[in-house]
């Protein structure tokens, strides 16, 4: 990661801007949402490998700041929503794409399926992720 940041520093013009945009694990909320309401049905579990990745990314940015490559200008956390037609599709996606770093326990699965089954016809299953966007100026 630090080597990649060194390369980015090299190819940016003096005073160029680096945008760091990425999700951060924080037991993202699972929801069932319809036009009428959004209901929280549980939270995902964060796995160790994902938490380690987040920590490593944070360390790399801190290191690039301490050695003068980049100057931190602004950071904001914001929600980013992934939405599926059904809880089954959400579970499939988590199993296939994100199984290294998050999981959904049985209780959250049951609550989400139940809320979805009892909700309006337009209801969707969704994950509310925590995102970071940071602006850094090339030093």
């Amino acid at each position: 990661m630090v080597h990649a940041l060194s390369e980015i520093h090299r190819v940016l013009i003096p005073n160029g801007i680096l945008i760091d945009l990425r999700p951060l694990l924080s037991r993202w909320e699972v929801e069932v949402a319809s036009a009428r309401e959004t209901r929280l049905t549980g939270r995902v579990n964060d796995f160790e490998v994902g938490l380690r990745d987040d920590a490593a990314a944070n360390r790399s940015m801190a290191e690039s700041e301490s050695n003068g490559w980049f100057i931190r200008e602004r950071e904001v956390f914001f929600p980013y929503v992934y939405s599926w037609d059904s809880p089954h599709e959400m579970e499939e996606w988590i199993d296939e794409e994100w199984n290294d770093f998050i999981g959904l326990d049985e209780e959250a699965q049951r609550a989400t399926r139940s809320a979805w089954a009892l909700s309006d016809g337009d209801a969707r299953a969704q994950l509310r992720m925590k995102m970071l966007i940071g602006r850094w100026r090339r030093g």
Binding site: V11, L18, I19, R22, Y80, S83
Partner: protein, 98 residues
Amino acid sequence: MTIQKDTEGNEKKLLHEFADFSNRCVLEIGSGEGRLTWQYAGASSLTVGLDSDHDALRVASIDAPHDRKHKIHFVHSEAEHLPFSKETFDIAILAWSL
């Protein structure tokens, strides 16, 4: 499977708050299939999307909006070895890739 991403539009809104892409030369690291690229590349003078995934880059090349194709280029490479001269880009984006 129908999946919708960033249904509240926060990512696009904040990206444009954090950087002015007008007539800028932009490098996006981890551009994947171009989902984020299409959000700002229209304003840039040139955008280079870089990814190590051949298949994703192929999808991005096919999906590139016709009116922006002339200023978007996709490159297969690792972020640790950027195939560009020094001081080439005004803005770099680490797109879900750090």
